[in-house]
């Protein structure tokens, strides 16, 4: 651990330290400490503003990160890494501790593709987000977070992707990562124990705290309070160490009220709409929580002849966009190919079946490779994404209907991944589908995949990227915020997180969120 980035002088609180109702004042309250909130916090703190950051999850750092899945998932992920869409058809991995998903992501850092930005210009009137106007913002973040193509040889799990692609005449490339002094351990998903990952936890949050910002963890925003059409304050519910209001023995019923002149909502694509819904915020054109996008992910596992040890080494270092724009921007859904790291707990949940067949797969664990296809949704009229709702506990749930457009892309991706895996020397391929079995050859796999039913709960679908739900746009009838993140109806609220994207991105979202956050928080700081 690099102790110089942690200071005892910082104003860091666990919300439950406030045992009675309490009122706090600030210039700006930021809800969420992930990619959007943390970048904003640093920008505004540098302007000399009194910033308070509210985070639902716990404050954890490299002192706590022990690379154990069973501790990391309940502590650092939304719903113990078991968040699912309303119909349970898609499992969603999303971070929840200080630093948000940046604390636990796999460090993959891509700029927003030009195709995506061009589509936004044409379709949503986002003319000021052209590739050349965003380029300086990407560059600033890349420098700040040491983002560069991974210069160390890829681990075997990644090399299999490149080798198979190469055999079949397809291209793969090196992934840029936000790391400094990375020891190639492979446990990024459980929090970096070396502070090498340049997440918000070790960069902008320490910077904002050193400039006098206050951080309150284990604090769930209940709702905004309004006065004369503006937000006057925010009610915050302290949470216990289990992330809940009560644990059977004790319960917290006090609230913290934070008053401020300005508010920034950075609770992510599922959380931000939920905060506004709980607050009964104006939504005259019913856009709130609509068009929330995941990158639905399909997975293909393979048993290789030699050990892969997919748990070791940078989790993602090679990728392919060969099929991302396979039918243009608005045609058939395209997909990006990457690999996920292999760890025993998550690996065991992904493997189909139970009992003996499952055990036999798990006993091949060191020989196991997996590949994922990240599907680009929201670019076609038939791809409307999901809708955020509140459940009986007033917490968000995403209703996400997968369409034929996705099912076609899903089948196509399972076929391509199996073909690539066999080309790379796989002995057996296991498509991640409830009814799929191990295939010993490409023709067998092909025949099996072609006959698999492409339907919810049969095909296992995952996602680690949530976007949309508070879309930006020039027309308030079809969006929630403008291109600077300013809420169309609430003049002292900005939304700065992945929820403002009008479609999915087609790439892992962290760098897109960082750059847009830097741009919009800077604009806000100059206009407050």
């Amino acid at each position: 651990m690099n102790s110089s980035i942690y200071s005892k002088q910082w104003q860091v609180f666990n919300a439950r330290e406030f045992t009675k109702n309490k009122t706090i004042e600030a210039d700006v309250v930021i809800i969420g400490s992930g990619a959007g909130g943390a970048i904003s916090a640093e920008v505004l703190a540098k302007k000399g503003l009194k910033v308070v950051i509210i985070e639902e999850g716990p404050y954890r750092n490299s002192q706590h990160f022990n690379m154990l899945e069973k501790e990391a998932y309940p502590d650092l992920y939304q719903e113990s890494a078991g968040r699912k869409t309303k119909d349970k058809a898609i499992s969603i991995l999303q971070g929840k501790s200080v630093g948000g998903s940046t604390t636990v992501n796999w460090t993959t850092s891509f700029r927003t593709p030009n195709q995506t930005l061009e589509h936004w210009q044409k379709q949503f009137g986002l003319e000021d987000l052209a590739p050349n106007t965003l380029a300086p913002w990407f560059k600033k973040i890349e420098e700040q977070l040491s983002i560069a193509p991974w210069s160390v040889p890829a681990n075997e799990n990644n090399q299999i992707l490149a080798r198979g692609m190469d055999k079949l005449g397809w291209r793969s490339e090196i992934i840029p990562r936000n790391v400094k002094g990375c020891a190639n351990l492979g446990y990024c998903g459980m929090g970096c124990p070396l502070d090498a990952k340049q997440s918000m936890l070790v960069t902008t949050i320490p910077s904002a705290l050193s400039l006098g910002a206050t951080l309150i963890s284990r604090a769930r925003v209940d709702k905004f309070l309004f006065s004369n059409g503006k937000i006057s304050s925010v009610d915050v519910q302290p949470l216990l160490s289990n992330g809940k209001v009560s644990n059977g023995n004790e319960s917290l019923d006090n609230l913290i009220n934070i008053q401020a002149k300005y508010f920034i909502l950075s609770a992510g694509a599922i959380g931000s709409p939920a905060v506004l819904m709980r607050s009964k915020a104006p939504d005259p054109y019913s856009n709130l929580g609509k068009r929330t996008f995941l990158h639905p992910v399909t997975i293909s596992a393979a048993i290789m002849a030699d050990k892969v040890n997919g748990f070791s080494g940078a989790p993602q270092s090679l990728y392919s966009d060969e099929f991302l724009w396979r039918d243009g921007i608005t045609g058939e859904m395209g997909y990006k190919l990457e690999v996920p790291p292999m760890h025993p707990l998550l690996g065991s949940l992904i493997m189909p079946g139970h009992g003996k067949s499952h055990r036999l797969l798990m006993e091949k664990f060191p020989y196991m490779h997996s590949m994922l296809a990240l599907h680009r949704d929201g670019f076609n009229d038939q791809s409307e994404g999901g809708v955020v709702e509140l459940n009986e506990f007033n917490l968000p749930v995403l209703d996400y209907q997968l369409t034929d457009l996705f099912w076609r892309s899903a089948k196509e991706s399972l076929l391509k991944m199996a073909e690539i895996q066999f080309a790379a020397g796989a002995k057996q391929v296991q498509p991640i589908h409830l009814e799929a079995s191990l295939a010993n050859s490409w023709p067998t796999a092909k025949a099996m995949i072609e006959s698999l039913p492409m339907e919810a709960l049969s095909l296992n679908v995952f996602s680690a990227h949530v976007m949309g739900g508070c879309a930006m746009g020039s027309n308030e009838r079809s969006s929630v915020v403008n291109t600077h993140g300013r809420h169309h109806q609430i003049s002292n609220l900005n939304i700065i997180d992945g929820s403002v994207f009008p479609t999915s991105l087609g790439v892992n979202p962290q760098l897109s969120i960082y750059a847009l956050a830097k741009r919009n928080a800077t604009y806000l700081s100059e206009n407050l």
Partner: protein, 178 residues
Amino acid sequence: MNNSRRQFLIRIFAAAGIAATGRMFWVANEEFIPELFIDDDQSWMELDPEDRLVLAMITPVVLDGVLTEALSGQRLLAYLKDFDYSLSLLTEFQIKEFKELLSLLKSLIGRIVVGGIWTTWNKASPSTIESMLKSWRSSYLDVIKIAYSGLKEISYGTWYGNPDNWQRLGYDGPPVIR
């Protein structure tokens, strides 16, 4: 555990001809695990004695073969305590949904209709439970498939999250950082 549930438990075990003291039952291959059924044991966070009985019967079938010997006795007890802890870490909504599944399985109708189990749980054979799991996996009802995945996720998450169970995977665990 409230009185009517206690009586319900006693009734099902009495019907099966098993001695029931209200605190101790025989389960899983006639092996005695009294700790599983102490209903005022505060160390259990979410699972009541009936839940533990159902899971003591089902989870060794889900995990079939993860040990060279049967998953039973003190190892099963320790596993179910871990299972209980895993469950307690979920959200209120997730816990509520899982408990709904357990309630269904504990009811006579649910056990027969959803589980296909005609005996009391303590008498259900591993092969009957395996048939139940297979039928859930290929069910045309979404809710049953969801039950299958939910049960599987907590079962495997609990098992493979435990470093004691990695040896058979050929996995030594995370590297040691100095």
